[in-house]
Symmetry: C2
Subunit: 344 residues, 2 copies
């Protein structure tokens, strides 16, 4: 059977570029790959493995039956593109938030809820969760399975690349300007990002005062875990790093365990690597790095047998496992693409 | 009465330089100021207001009765210097951690526990709390007073200047190198700091796995609040910013209140400014900035009247309120220096 045609939509963006790299690294770049972008990119090319792919304008691109389509564009653009692709008989993984709240569209992290892919009829459209949700749940799933989870608290340290390639350029350019004593002029963010930490720029909901990223984590984690009442505290923040997010996580376990039990559960979990975790260590890696597995400091006064609140420190490449890799894994899990061991 | 002689020890360091700036800004730089540093700085000068102060070697410096001494050196150096100064009849504010656990030495934030200065006999040696403790408690004290606090959770986003001037130089130099495609060579930190986020570099306690910064926050907050059992969860992290720390704080109040009540309490608190809080906004300011006052996302399912867990976002200049300003305020509160309205 020939390999299906793959279309990467948003191929010039940060997620699109990473999709092409992950497809190549996992051996999916031997067949036809269409690199689709906005009309003003037409005529240019993008690189995928050892090939230069001509960019095709999304408006002019004809989706075909059987295509495997990865959408790496924002929610407003993804909505009509996904509908066009599905109507043409293509199979679609959308990286945006457009369909994450749609009960008819599976929202899946392969290491966490692969069973959600087993719909009847099989799904044609999948939603890739938010990058912060993915890394958090990959790390917590082994604890949830083994011990149960009663409460999650997460403070994020998010790289600018979550806001796209322009944001990465802005951090580099602004930082260079500031080092020369020149002013930092924000464009991608509402505030200067060079040498600055500020609340995540997504829209604040006036009813809850939570920003968009915080609302995504809560809603998506509850949906993926089928735990609609799970208490989750979130504070989402941008830090001046290029790619890979970090998270300070405090999780209250339902069952009383030992740190050794916790470490064993984490050591054998798919997609997770106990290791020194920091932005640069996670950059370019497939795994979510988990570090500083310890009792929360508030538990230290309690006898060890009564402790239930854990503290963890995570780092993961949000363009890779947080976006492109998870999307490609979903296509593999659905057998839209052949299952292949990753090599990065 | 003539103004006392002031000695700033560690005058070439990041805290020492800020002490000289704060002393000048608060009108304390008109009398004699001795700028004291290590022997290898002797012969050089440092600036204070419009004067160039010659640097004196600490080993050769004679403390006098009545001197007001600010120590801006590390704990190992502070211990013998403080003892020498107190023995000579000087009055000392130490910025290091050397005396913070010593019950005989007041550990004070003027906005939080000024009554701890009223010892009999009056204190000759004061301990300045850790920068992260100061900003956290300045922000939470009005809530503790008005409503009571049952649990504190804080994740920090700490600027490199907490590790001193060399760390600030390292962040600038490393960032410039990385932008040119050159390798980042860590010296002040165990890991590269340019475009990187990593756990706070202070020593990990093998019994608790908490790092030094986390242990300081817990121990100091409990001591200052005289709340030895208060549960406090901490995760302390370095981010690639030059100065001003941020904190994501979740606090469980003892009493049920409304967000309006919370905002009123915060609006009228000394040293605190409700404002857009980010690293650059706090840099060079006296106040702790408090922002994003909201219910924790885990509380949003509860009816409003039953909510008790709050989320706050803080930013403060840790060299100023987190070190130099708090130290000078302590000397003013003890009337070692005349009380003067700050002007920055």
């Amino acid at each position: 059977m020939p390999e299906p045609r793959i279309a990467v939509v948003g191929a010039t963006g940060a997620v699109g570029e990473e999709l092409l790299a992950v497809l190549a690294a996992r051996g999916h770049a031997r067949g036809t790959i269409a690199a689709v972008a906005s009309a003003n990119s037409a005529g240019r090319t993008v690189r995928c493995a050892d090939r230069e792919l001509p960019l095709v304008a999304a408006d002019a691109f004809a989706f075909n039956r059987g295509d495997v389509v990865f959408l790496g564009v924002d929610a407003a653009a993804a909505m009509p593109l996904a509908q066009r692709a599905v109507a043409a008989g293509a199979r679609v993984v959308d990286n945006s938030s457009a369909f994450r709240g749609d009960a008819a569209v599976p929202l899946v992290i392969p290491e966490v809820n692969p069973e959600a892919l087993n719909t009847d009829p099989p799904p044609r459209l999948l939603a890739n969760p938010n990058c912060s949700t993915i890394m958090l749940l990959v790390a917590l799933e082994p604890l949830r399975k083994a011990f149960g989870i009663e409460h999650v608290h997460v403070a994020t340290y998010q790289a600018v690349s979550g806001a796209g390639r322009a944001a990465m350029d802005e951090l580099r350019d602004q930082t260079a300007a500031v080092l020369k004593g020149q002013p930092a002029e924000p464009r991608a963010f509402p505030l200067p990002c060079a040498f600055n930490v500020f609340p995540h720029e997504s829209a604040i909901d006036p009813a809850t005062l939570a920003n968009g990223e915080e609302r995504k984590i809560v809603a998506e984690a509850r949906r993926i875990w089928r735990a609609p009442d799970l208490p989750i505290d979130c504070a989402c923040t941008r830090v001046p790093t290029l790619r890979a997010h970090c998270q300070a996580v405090t999780v209250t376990l339902a069952g009383v365990v030992s740190l050794d039990d916790v470490r064993s559960a984490l050591a054998n979990a798919p997609g997770l690597l106990p290791a020194a975790a920091h932005t640069l260590a996670a950059t370019g890696r497939d795994e979510v790095l988990v570090d500083r597995v310890r009792w929360a400091t508030s538990e230290l006064d309690r006898p060890e047998a009564g402790r239930r609140r854990l503290s963890l420190w995570l780092a993961a490449d949000q363009l890779r496992k947080g976006a492109a890799l998870n999307a490609v894994q979903l296509a593999e899990a659905c057998k839209w693409l052949p299952a292949r061991a990753g090599s990065t």
